[in-house]
Subunit: 143 residues, 2 copies
Amino acid sequence: MREKKPAVQCAIEEALSVIGDRWSLLIVRDVLRGVNRFDSLQESLQISRNILTQRLNTLEEAGILVKIPIKPGARRMLYNATPKCFALVPTLVSLIDWSARWSEKPDTRWARVIDKRTGEPVTVDLVGNDGEPVSLLDLDLTY
Amino acid sequence: MREKKPAVQCAIEEALSVIGDRWSLLIVRDVLRGVNRFDSLQESLQISRNILTQRLNTLEEAGILVKIPIKPGARRMLYNATPKCFALVPTLVSLIDWSARWSEKPDTRWARVIDKRTGEPVTVDLVGNDGEPVSLLDLDLTY
DNA sequence: CCAATAAGTTCTAAAATGCAACTAATTTGT
DNA sequence: ACAAATTAGTTGCATTTTAGAACTTATTGG
């Protein structure tokens, strides 16, 4: 009997199957900035309550959020970020970079993620496995 | 008369309003790897043709793709990536990183974007304005 | 000049999303 | 302690998006 070879799959599809909808990344953003109650999320995002329920459940099942009672045994809940959630920060920053650079909206200041040590905005860089920056021209996107 | 102060807006929302659906980033991925005809995109993505039409138009209006005839005057079209499209590569790479690190699917090899100079996968790093890596702990996500 | 191809369009059906009102437990204020 | 307000949802229905398949129109290769 032959072992089944692990198929090469698209990690982008995989990611989008979890967070590729209109709300999930915004929920992640809000939870990371400390908006972690059902009602505050609903108000902040202006999302339908039933959809919010769905998305929170999906994100919890995916291990991106954990739901815990405000105090042991209570019914009031907190939605907290897991390490897997924090791991989405580079994605969020890359989107912020992209909008700040390419969006055509005059008279708008885009909110940035800030490096507390310097007070300056953080960005995102492509790097090789030596940690050195890599140019777009050096990429093989064949995929 | 007072000048209207530029409002601080969320760049993540802005980005997601363009590419925050289940298909757009996959279309971007495919175009970047050279899949740039209507039918090949449809076949590659298994997307409904009418939806593909919509998405391609949206992406073109957003300046992410340009549609040009295969030769001058022809009706056969090519969808090509603009610089604004290439600027999404860090986002794609960040999603690939995230899946490769956090997705729980045994026996799958995730396709990576490769650094042609080394043959090794490219990743993405958070960097301060000095170009130095920044830790998640040093970020102000208040936003 | 015929058969195949490419790039859509046009229906209709199904799924996802939005909206408002409702529930049931739990805090809060007095 | 107890009434009023809050919280975290649920439920049912309307609207919007997406999917699927067949159809159209022009091009193109042999």
